[in-house]
């Protein structure tokens, strides 16, 4: 590399320092205050909060329940996800595309909405399935009670298995067909080739899948709050939330949060170690005709099982949501006269938090997505080419929030901004900060991938032809990374919109957002309003994604054009 003009280097260094400072305030300050708060009691610095963790039974129960929920969700989630991924990518099961679309569609549904849908389906009294059962059989009791530990685990599995599916599906798709063919030619049966070649080759995805589904389940808040709490099953996240009831015990909440963050960091580190070293990328063969395993008549059994899974986890919950949002609260047989728009009218015009929460959600999500985009792009640009000794610092700061569950980060924000010089608690700004920081890694990854795909030769070619640096940026670089930037923006926007676990600690009656408003009407047992608001949330989400598709042409979720 040749040297750059001295003045440019100096101005770049100034921008670098500014970016590093902003990121440090955004990311490190809340973590610092979180740690400090966990050691603080009204008598000053002490270990009292941590001592409580070991002394108080409900904290220990919560930690055990979280562990159980995490393990059960990740084991069952991986079993279901791997099975579906294999059926979809490696066999001749019919209707593969529809199954795949449904699994991926579950991603667009926020985890807590999925949990509420299941209450609407299988709540002991209000659940549609139970009402149907009672109408059909004349029984006085419902069929299923979702309010139980099993119910919570089932809903958590339904929430995390699409993640397992993605990991395994990508691994199976990327795997060269010839790897298994080579084993077959040497005398291995199809089953043997799968277990000795395909599955070991997917090891990185298996490890990542287990760890990510475990962490996802551990960080869940909506399902444990909606399903666990009524069943008196408490997990760490719901305990943290209860510590914020008056009088708030921020120090205690911080002490309960840190183990969550530590487990996350430790597992991400383990994942790195386990996957590390051995290179798995290989030269691809020519794209020979994809040979799918022929399941014979079993393929109808397979599609039956897959169909039931996606019906239960995607079709049914969303269908009941739409149905309940349009149907008057009533028991007894279905009647067309009960179809109504009253719930929508209520949440949009009569419910005091209805419209404001939608406005707040849109404003904070827009701000978070835009700011995250600007910050991530600057950081990605400045980290590019590694021209400074510390250029890795920006990337590290941007990626760090990945290791901090949203709720834990929110505790840190409360500890930082509810006293002292700057008080942001109770403002929309603190919500924006939470969304922005938590989603910074996704914005950064999009920008980085987009920039990495622009070879510096492309820019050099423009410079050699006489374009200035700025003109090159405007006419060459910017158009090439536009898609990556936009897809990052959409991801942050959608994630912000659907957040519940950070919002629930940060909102006040003046700053409700859609997710907290939904929980409020849920606690008030206004089922129709829950359904109507959820449908509105899903609709905004869908519009963002569809608009993205329109603009980007199908590359919404992959930054490289």
């Amino acid at each position: 590399m040749t040297g750059r003009p001295a003045s440019r280097v100096r101005s770049q260094e100034a921008v670098w320092i500014a970016a590093a400072l902003i990121l440090a305030v955004l990311v490190l300050l809340p973590v610092y205050h979180l740690v400090v708060a966990s050691f603080t009691t009204k008598d000053g610095l002490s270990l009292a909060n941590y001592a409580q963790l070991f002394r108080v039974r409900r904290f220990q129960e919560a930690m055990l329940n979280s562990l159980l929920l995490g393990i059960a969700s990740s084991v069952f989630g991986m079993l279901i996800g791997t099975l579906l991924a294999w059926l979809v990518s490696r066999t001749n099961m019919p209707y593969r595309r529809i199954i795949r679309t449904c699994v991926l569609g579950s991603f667009a549904v926020p985890a807590f909405v999925n949990a509420l849908s299941w209450v609407l389906l299988a709540g002991p009294n209000a659940g549609s399935l139970n009402q149907l059962w009672m109408t059909l059989t004349g029984s006085r009791e419902g069929l299923i009670n979702i309010f139980s530990l099993q119910g919570l685990i089932a809903v958590a599995v339904a929430t995390v298995y699409p993640l397992a599916f993605i990991f395994m599906h990508n691994a199976f798709e990327a795997m060269d067909n010839e790897m298994e063919q080579a084993a077959r030619l040497l005398g291995a049966s199809g089953v043997r080739a799968f277990f000795t070649i395909a599955l070991p080759l997917a090891r990185p995805a298996l490890i990542a899948g287990f760890i990510m589904t475990f962490l996802e389940a551990l960080a869940l808040y909506g399902a444990p709050a909606a399903i666990g709490v009524p069943a008196r099953v408490y997990v760490v996240t719901t305990q943290i939330w209860s510590l914020f009831e008056y009088p708030p015990q921020v120090g205690m909440a911080a002490a309960l949060s840190l183990p969550l963050a530590l487990v996350t960091v430790a597992l991400l580190w383990v994942q790195r170690i386990l996957i590390g070293r051995r290179g798995y990328s290989t030269i691809r063969g020519k794209s020979s005709r994809w040979q799918r395993a022929d399941l014979g008549a079993w393929r109808w059994v397979a599609v039956g099982i897959a169909g039931v899974i996606v019906f239960l986890t995607f079709v049914l919950p969303n269908a009941v949501l739409v149905f309940r949002s349009l149907y008057r609260e009533s028991y007894g047989a279905f009647s067309i006269g009960n179809v109504t728009l009253a719930h929508y009218k209520y949440v949009l015009f009569d419910y005091v938090d209805g419209l404001p929460s939608i406005r707040h959600s849109l404003a904070t999500a827009l701000a978070a997505a835009t700011l995250a985009g600007v910050l991530a792009l600057s950081a990605a640009f400045l980290s590019r080419g590694r021209s400074f000794r510390f250029s890795g610092v920006l990337a590290f700061l941007c990626m760090l929030p990945l290791a901090i569950p949203a709720m834990v980060f929110a505790v840190g924000l409360v500890a930082t901004y509810s006293g002292g010089w700057i008080v942001l608690y109770g403002t929309l700004t603190i919500l924006t900060l939470a969304y922005l920081t938590k989603n910074l890694p996704y914005a950064f990854m999009s920008c980085n991938a987009a920039l990495a795909s622009v070879h510096t030769d492309l820019e050099s070619a423009a410079r050699v032809l006489g374009a200035s640096g700025l003109r090159t940026l405007r006419t060459i670089t910017a158009p090439l990374i536009r898609n990556g930037l936009l897809s990052g923006w959409i991801v942050v926007f959608a994630n912000s919109l659907r957040d519940l676990s950070a919002s629930v600690l940060l909102y006040t009656s003046a700053t409700t957002v859609i997710s907290t408003a939904i929980m409020d009407v849920y606690y008030a047992s206004q089922w129709g309003a829950v359904a109507a608001l959820s449908v509105i949330l899903l609709a905004i989400n869908a519009v963002a994604i569809i608009l993205g598709y329109r603009i980007l042409g199908r590359n919404v979720l992959s930054p490289n054009t």
Partner: protein, 365 residues
């Protein structure tokens, strides 16, 4: 007995109206290499996959060692055919060491640990990788991975070795070296092999029996020299190397020779094989193919040559040992390769000449 026989094999892929393989018949003799040569999409890889058992034919049958392994709509699974295959991607398993890769097939044949170790070592010796058994594929070069794939395929002593463009991912120098090594190894082991490639130079070096494919049918097959020197069609003539292909109409037909009237040039006398003659009659359109190196270039009209045409040197291209001249005579632009010492300048007059047996009458295609 042939190691492999393909009889009238037809393969269709579901939705496509035209079959990918349309009635293909050939055979591989003991200890010989059959090379399937053709442009991409000609069906050569599909043919190999049919032999391997990765696909089943729609019509025809496939025999290995005289035993039928595939017929219309059915086929033994690959693991029951006792074949060795080297893939274009090598398909060396990245989660197994070099030793474990090579040992995999032997483990499936439930041999003793000691036997496995001995035979793997012998196979690694053969491909000059004796020292690398403990390495992972990511820790060795592409050329070495290639050798691992080869060792893995031959260690199980297959009836037939299948090679699917195995050298196409190597750089040019290594490729030429591996060609020779592959040939030596195959001779040494006396293995019959099918080798798929689109590289005519590779095909020439390796083939005992050369099969040129196009659009799912065999365009021509035979010994490599035979196919190179006496192509049956214009396609084969062009695919096997640079040639002068002149279109015209047949005016005379005799045994083993014919005369062609080439518009804008005149009459050309050339060799005509019985096989090509059987599908031609006087007045039919046909072409004559002459390799540039077999043409002579002289300042004056040569006395004895059956074919001689005056022209002007349009371009001179220095190729090293040889010099290529583009000579314009009438409507025809000749490509002539001559030793570099032989000097003409652009604009000079010159005569292009050749004996009747130098040219070959080929079917148009």
């Amino acid at each position: 007995m042939s190691k492999l026989e393909l009889i009238d094999v037809v393969k269709r892929f579901g939705d496509q109206p035209q079959a990918v393989i349309r009635g293909l018949s050939t055979s591989v003799a003991e200890g010989q290499i059959l090379v399937l040569l053709g442009p991409s999409g000609c069906g050569k890889t599909t043919t190999l996959q049919l032999v391997a058992g990765l696909l089943a034919p729609d019509e025809g049958s496939i025999l290995v060692d005289g035993r039928q392994v595939a017929g219309p709509g059915w086929g033994l699974p690959p693991e029951r055919r006792n074949l060795g295959m080297v893939f274009q991607s090598y398909a060396v398993w990245p989660h197994k060491t070099v030793f474990e890769n090579v040992a995999y097939g032997l483990e499936l044949r439930s041999m003793s640990r000691e036997d496995i170790r001995r035979r793997v070592q012998k196979a690694l010796d053969l491909v000059h990788l004796s020292e690398l058994g403990a390495r992972y594929p990511s820790e060795i070069s592409g050329g070495q991975q290639q050798r691992v794939a080869l060792a893995r395929a031959i260690v199980v002593e297959p009836s037939l070795l299948l090679l699917d463009e195995p050298l196409s991912n190597l750089d040019a120098t290594l490729r030429e070296q591996m060609r020779i090594e592959l040939k030596t190894l195959q001779r040494q082991l006396g293995l019959a092999a099918i080798y798929v490639t689109h590289d005519q130079a590779e095909a020439m070096v390796l083939a005992d029996h050369l099969v040129v494919m196009r659009d799912g049918v065999i365009e021509q097959q035979g010994r490599a020299e035979e196919v190179f020197l006496r192509p049956r069609t214009g396609f084969v003539a062009r695919f096997l190397g640079v040639t002068n292909l002149l279109k015209g109409n047949l005016t005379d037909l005799a045994s083993n020779s014919a005369r062609l009237d080439v518009p804008g040039l005149g009459m050309v006398s050339a060799f005509l094989s019985d096989e090509v003659a059987s599908s031609l009659k006087i007045g039919d359109a046909a072409s004559a193919s002459m390799r540039p190196l077999e043409l002579a270039l002289s300042a004056t009209r040569p006395d004895a040559a059956a074919n001689a045409y005056e022209g002007k040197i349009a371009e001179r291209i220095f190729l090293g040992d040889l010099t290529e001249y583009l000579v314009q005579s009438g409507a025809i632009r000749w490509r002539v390769h001559v030793a570099s010492a032989n000097r003409f300048a652009v604009g000079d007059s010159a005569w292009v000449s050749f004996a009747a047996e130098v040219g070959t009458i080929v079917l148009e295609s």
